[in-house]
Assembly symmetry: C2
């Protein structure tokens, strides 16, 4: 199997079959085994990496549907290449001056054992090896920066304000809640199980939390938890929750729209009816993407790494084992299986 | 009919009967005649005014329905007092040091011939008598300041940007379009008739305009008028138009939400389905009310009065004659009868 150009090894991959308009299922993906040469091809500038951890993120579901004006136009799925997503990986071979063998990196990679990455501008080298590398898929990576940018930059938060976070036990939500508590806000989260609600209150320090599945009237629930109304809503779910929140916002409230996970498995998104509240309460509702905040990444790390090491902020990870478990891990994001950041552990070194 | 305290005169009034959940009709109002003493009562600080012009504004429709969290909690309609709204009036008697007989004022008054106004903090004295006084219900009053605050403060407009205005021939819309043109934007408006579309293009200087009633596919229409997308949307209508606009916004676009007139006569507001575009395009959507911009009023007048006198900005008024015509004028706002600012001429001096 050896050649002058590097060893050829088998390379297990997760392939996505075709766009899914409705509910994403494990059967929309399959596992296959290809081969790969562990060497960057001649005349190519890039790195050959061994993937250690892969990330399951809600935005990946959007790539899996045909949507107008989407940022997912360049979809690898169309040519049956492995799913692309963020991962932590070890450099096995490099023709790029910024990366050398055995470097740890995080960034866009493939759902497979080994990947050739030529878009190296999306890779970050991991310098701090005191923390588990998979953290770079959560608190120290895209979800962390998402929580940071979406909360501090969009919400203009002030001490004492009333903050509501939906999908609060998710990769982004559980960090937003903790950032808001550190700032001195009053924070309530919603999640989909008793265990998650307990975690929010007992582990992540939310002032209160509730299980939205047990609330037949979300408007009434929000009135119970926010008798004085909501200043800041960190939107992760969309649909009925957004409609109920709009009725409970305070004057000059802010809604940071990070995602709408309740809608991604629907053929048609639900209608939101209470937008006139934007006028009545003079609300600012703003969508964002983490791409706009990468210039803040080193500033964010400077803030969060000490907090993390001092135990002032807690990070929760949900790890599935092996590439074979990747399809069910991704599907599970949309049925609430994960608590905290969902990753797939592919290899340990 | 005379007394020491002032003449008692008959006072025609327009009374609103009861909250209307669906379509507002003339029969929801009636005309009656009361009497009034043309003197501010003893121990009362206020002004007694003769109403000259009354204003028909879309927000008045919202006061006419029971809505949660509305800014219309203190509704005069409940006790069969005349409808309240903005007007231009002449002071007939005053016990307030800031106002004297024969002053012209604009602000909150009643739909009647004479009104006793004690909330004088909502009154502005009219100093510039070079312009028709009814302008203070349009370009020089609330709609003008609404257009100014909603466009300049919310939209952060820049020269060369693509601007779409709905209800563009309305009291606010036709001013927003002209402000945007003065700044060097490319401006397209939508309206509900050929005459209005012609006015937008030929009188108000919009780059283009279309009749939304002749566009079965609003998304396709917007793609035709904005092949490169929309940077700024000045939202006056809501519903299907908003949904179509969301699909055509550019990255980092702004939506200034002034009102949603297409929804005010519906028992349930329509659902808006495309809010995920806020994330995909990182759009800021912000509601506002003119109340938040009164501190800018004198600055606004300094800007707009010269433009108006030089003919660089055109103001259009639609005047109904007499209090008897008030109910149909108000109802007509929601069926598109008016072009420009709808007022009711009650008296000429």
């Amino acid at each position: 199997m050896e050649s002058d150009d590097g060893e050829v090894v088998s390379n297990k991959q997760v392939i996505f079959k075709d766009y899914v308009p409705g509910i994403l299922q494990e059967s929309d993906m399959y596992i296959t085994t290809a081969t790969i040469k562990l060497k960057v091809p001649p005349d190519t500038k890039g790195v050959l990496v061994k993937n250690l951890y892969l990330s399951c993120d809600p935005y990946m579901r959007i790539r899996m549907r045909k949507v107008q004006g989407s940022y997912f136009a360049r979809s690898c799925q169309e040519s049956l290449l492995p799913i692309t997503g963020r991962g932590v990986a070890k450099v096995v071979d490099s023709s790029h001056p910024d990366f050398k063998n055995d470097d740890l990196v995080w960034g866009m990679t493939g759902w497979e054992e080994y990947s050739l990455i030529t878009a190296t501008e999306t890779l970050f080298k991991i310098h701090d090896r005191d923390v588990p590398p998979s953290c770079y898929l959560g608190i120290l990576g895209m979800p962390g920066l998402t929580a940071y940018g979406g909360f501090y930059e969009i919400c203009s938060p002030k001490k004492g304000e009333f903050v509501f976070v939906s999908a609060a036990s998710g990769a982004v939500g559980h960090l937003v809640g903790q950032f808001a508590k550190l700032l001195g806000c009053y924070v309530v989260g919603s999640a989909g199980s008793k265990d998650k609600v307990d975690l929010l209150k007992n582990k992540f320090g939310f002032d209160d939390a509730f299980n939205y599945k047990e609330e037949p009237d979300l408007d009434a629930a929000l009135k119970r938890y926010f008798p004085e109304g909501i200043d800041i809503y960190f939107e992760n779910v969309g649909g009925k929750t957004l409609d109920a929140v709009l009725l409970n916002m305070r004057v000059h409230g802010r809604i940071s729209v990070c995602g709408m996970i309740s809608q991604y498995n629907l053929e048609q998104p639900e209608g939101v009816h209470n937008l006139m509240q934007l006028v009545v309460k003079r609300i600012r509702m703003e969508g964002f993407m983490v791409h706009d905040y990468y210039h803040l990444y080193s500033k964010y790390l400077e803030m969060v790494l000490p907090l993390m090491k001092e135990g002032k902020i807690v990070h929760l990870e949900h790890a599935a084992q092996g590439l074979e478990s990747a399809p069910s891990a991704l599907v599970g994001l949309f049925t609430g299986c994960n608590i905290g950041k969902q990753v797939i552990a592919v290899a340990y070194e």
